[in-house]
Amino acid sequence: MTGRGEVTTGPLAVGQFVSMVKRTLVREPLFQRQTIKGEVSQWKQYPSGHTYFTLRDDEGQISAVIWKGRCQIHPSIKEGSEVVVTANLDLYVKRGNIQLNVERIEPINALGAMEEARRQLIERLRLEGELDRPRQRPPFSPKHILIITGAGSAALSDMQQLIENRWPGLRRTVIEVLVQGQRATEEIVRAMALSRRLANPVIASQRGEPPVDLIIVGRGGGSPEDLWAFNLEPVVRAILASPIPVVSAVGHESDLLVSDLVADVRASTPSNAIERCVPIRAELEQWQDEIHERLNHAMLRTFGDARQRLIGLHARLKVAPLAGINAGRRSILTLHSNLNRAVEARFSKERTRIAGLEAALVSIHPKRVLERGYAMTQSEQGEVITKAGMLNVGQAYTLHFVDGTAQAAVTEIHAEEENT
């Protein structure tokens, strides 16, 4: 190796030179994250996990490497495949080779194949009746929303912002997943499996929160390939299997994914999902205030009316018996005077009769008889003697005259023959 001082004075060491070239190459923006299409040749996948190939066409070629785990490799890619790669230009100093570090590789015919698979999936779902299945109604006012979307994505922050505007502090759980690439499917399915548990009342109460009652699964806009996980059967089946309503909120207005076709609610965008599922709390509160007032008012009015009626009745009640009594009293008085009159009439008649009787009595009073010269005989016992046969010889009798009495003794009795 050469020392530092020789760089400017002597010839460059080749390694240094190649390093300089590398530095210049990697600094060039045109050579970074460039999308290049070509044909795959010398495709070699090593046990180390790295894949080496040459990207070529009729005009030229370049070495390419896919470092282990750097990107998903579509299984259809093989020798001779037409592919599109996104790659950074690099220079392997030790060999002086220029190569592409591949970040992404897609077979050119893959989109066609994917489209076909999507079409077939939709057809299967149609035959199974899943496209026309009755949808679950999302809760009018969700108490615990589960959002399944990309970590730190614009879609997530848009949704969060919108929720805060509409319903500050609404309870929500976000499960951060990959939303593109091959692993996205698996992660979304795993998150959906977890949602089932968060929706379970027992598990939720152990966690000290109400069960999840709405799921929003989605992501922001992207290329058709970026959104593709939402066209794949595992994701679609996970949505279909959900015991609670699922909102599919993928991409932009114009993107229609299979997840949209099977979800309980299809939102055109993630923000739209929030607008459709999260009410504006202030409006609900206002409605509650209004209905509270209307309820009380209607109640008070009904009771007020009844009270007025009652007061009216009461007033009438107070007057009514008096009126009756007065009428009664009047009729009793009438009866009374009628009675008096009747009694009076009766008595005066009696009186006349009694006067007549009196006169008659007066005319037949014994005194009047005595005045005419008759005398009345009475025994010692006070018995009036009306017949000679009532007399006993030797007994004393009292003779009543008009002006006095005399004692007499019977010496003889001459009774006349009497025909009885």
Binding site: P139, F140, S141, P142, K143, H144, A151, W167, G169, L170, R171, R172, T173, V174, I175, E176, V177, E187, R190, A191, L194, R197, I203, Q206, R207, E209, P210, R281, L284, E285, W287, Q288, I291, H292, R294, L295, A298, M299, R301, T302, F303, D305, A306
Partner: protein, 78 residues
């Protein structure tokens, strides 16, 4: 509770109907009182529902939530 708790929407719709018929009037007091009590209970449900939606904001990585739930399971089976 013998009956299933109505959802917010069910409660709100029933409450609207109750208030409308109370406003129409023409019912006897007993009926009015019964409706009023039902209405007040429904309003309470609606108000409670709003408060029930307040809560924590969890942002969880998939793996973390999986582990959390597993730990919870382990605890539950102890």
């Amino acid at each position: 509770m013998t009956e299933k708790q109505p959802t917010y929407n069910e409660a709100a719709q029933r409450l609207e109907a109750i208030v409308a018929s109370l406003e129409r009037g023409g019912m006897d007091l007993e009926e009015t009182l019964k409706l009023y009590e039902e209405g007040a209970a429904l309003l309470k449900i609606c108000q409670t529902e709003l408060h029930a939606a307040e809560g924590r904001l969890n942002e969880l990585r998939l793996e973390d939530l999986e582990q959390e739930l597993q730990a919870q399971d382990a605890q539950a089976t102890d």
